[in-house]
Point group: C2
Chain length 165, copies 2
């Protein structure tokens, strides 16, 4: 306990937010445990928690924590840090990482594009179906480019509004 910053907040209110937000993430396709762990980190004061803290707050086993953070790290949604001079591991959400993670759906889009390109070739670019696939492909290529520009604009907007993080 004993958060240095600010008075102790109502732990139940925190938990309520964590579970509610996690539920939204689950509905959007994130597995349950990673969603809860992520939400717990978001709602923590420092944005950093150890495995033990996560297990305690969420009432889950060390194994579940381990699996969840592995997943989140792979998605670049958290980073792992070794607490120096200890075998404790710490997990952190970085404001920026969170945004970048969403952007990293790019990798997914890239694979869609590959599949579509293959489809255009094998169905024939002069067929109606081929044309439909080509247009879909064009859409994704467009989006990919636009998202990049959008993120630049966001970073500018953010700095203006919040100052550099």
């Amino acid at each position: 306990m004993a958060e240095p910053t600010g008075a102790a907040r109502d732990p139940e209110a925190v938990s309520r937010f964590v579970e509610h937000f996690a539920a939204q993430l689950v509905e959007a396709g994130l597995p349950r445990m990673p969603a809860r762990v992520f939400a717990a980190l978001l709602a923590s004061d420092t944005g950093v928690l150890t495995s033990a803290e996560l297990g305690e707050r969420l009432r889950i086993s060390p194994a579940a924590v381990s699996g969840a953070v592995r997943y989140l790290a792979q998605q670049h949604m958290v980073s792992r840090e070794r607490e120096p001079g200890s075998r404790r591991e710490r997990y952190r959400v970085h404001g920026d990482q969170w945004y970048e993670a969403l952007t990293n759906r790019e990798a997914v889009i890239r694979r869609w594009e590959d599949a579509l390109r293959e489809g255009v070739v094998s169905l024939g670019s002069d067929t109606p179906a081929g044309r439909r696939l080509a247009e879909t492909l064009a859409f994704f290529e467009f989006v990919e480019k636009e998202v990049e520009a959008m993120m630049d604009r966001w970073r500018a907007h953010r700095e203006e509004r919040f100052g550099r993080g």
Copy 2:
């Protein structure tokens, strides 16, 4: 190759594309059957297939077709049409629908925003965690606005490149 439109194309090549693209969609979080049905429609010449055709091409039961199209219709990824003077139902992918469907992740984002707003209030906007949530919220609000503008630009881009659909 390059059969005239309407001639039977290599059905195996079509199937290969369908399954490959569907697999990508599944990996992105779409349930298996809806993904396969959607891919089959994308790869069809007219963009329209009946229940029976879908069942036959994908080797799945009528029940599976029914469940999949219900899902897809709810997500606005296909529209259902009653073939006049018949109890056959037809399912269609519309180029535009497909884009709009992706845009409709908006509804999801909206719910995330709600949860985050609630979190800012209950954690206190003067706490570090509250500030983190507020910044995340700002990000999504930004994205929401930007995506709208992006879709406008896409429609213009598309018309220029493909002519109006």
